[in-house]
Symmetry: C2
Subunit: 196 residues, 2 copies
Amino acid sequence: MKVNLEAGNLILRLWFMLHRTHDMLKACEDQVFGGYKITTEQFTVLATIKYLGEPAKVTDIARWLTRSTNSVSMIADRMAKAGLIRRVRDRSDRRVVNLFITNKGEEFFKPAILAGWQFAQEILSPISYEDKQTLISLLLTVQYNTHKHLKPEENIEELRRHEAKLHANLMKRLIQYISPSTPEAKRQSGKKEKTR
Amino acid sequence: MKVNLEAGNLILRLWFMLHRTHDMLKACEDQVFGGYKITTEQFTVLATIKYLGEPAKVTDIARWLTRSTNSVSMIADRMAKAGLIRRVRDRSDRRVVNLFITNKGEEFFKPAILAGWQFAQEILSPISYEDKQTLISLLLTVQYNTHKHLKPEENIEELRRHEAKLHANLMKRLIQYISPSTPEAKRQSGKKEKTR
């Protein structure tokens, strides 16, 4: 029984810790993005549009953020009113709403992603290369287990390939914002070859 | 430069993954707790009161959840109206609000923590003992780095000791809910000795 109690203790501790780490990260980000007159929520939507590629569908953003389409629609409405994004209904299917980032949105996004990037470096750079890889791999396992819980019918391998592809494209899109001063980075972001 | 890009890629990936893992966890929990007519937010406040020990001060709950006192006050108001908790002003300092869980709150908490516990086991049990310990330790590093960012003046070692103590007490308080059927567990929860 001692082993079970110990095992239970560890699960409870990890469960709490997954939440607490996120809560603290979120508190930092609210502070960081608040300095750029943008909420963390708005930043997340802009970053997700960058992540998925423009134009991004409201339904895809909602799926990515595991939120309801309705709640993302409401945020998008407010952001469109604030002039940060443009909502365009799809010509072939009027139910589909495509989101584009406006020039004003870009102006807000640029300094915010740079500040966010500097914050992420501050928090995560002290962790060794190997530890970062270990942490990513363990978080991925938690993700897959939650994914199995939420959508037992979906193919997890397909999801993994899809995410790897999105991530490769993200770096290409973001590198211009997060290292604007290095010529190598500019050259890298300018490359047009396809990443799988 | 290649190394820097690769290192940047890893940081970006980890940053996104810390958020995405939490978002997916949260989506599962909304589903789990929704089945018990309690929101994840209300469950979190009840669990935090259990964690900190009764009565818990609104300010301590807010600090623990890295939220503003004002936002926790508003949640507590709604929960008090719903009869889940009781708000009592401290006799020695009227600004301090102490929260107690009512009998009705206990009735909602019991099946919810059991369901939450079963969910946590489902998600986290497949991870090996060693990997769970590694994950906890790496998340702790991220937490400490965010803590340094938020409150550079606070003593991190003190925080670590405080959390270890809270966690030890938590297990003693929760074991009766999460393993109600084992006599060993009941005996364990009944022990009155102090854990440091």
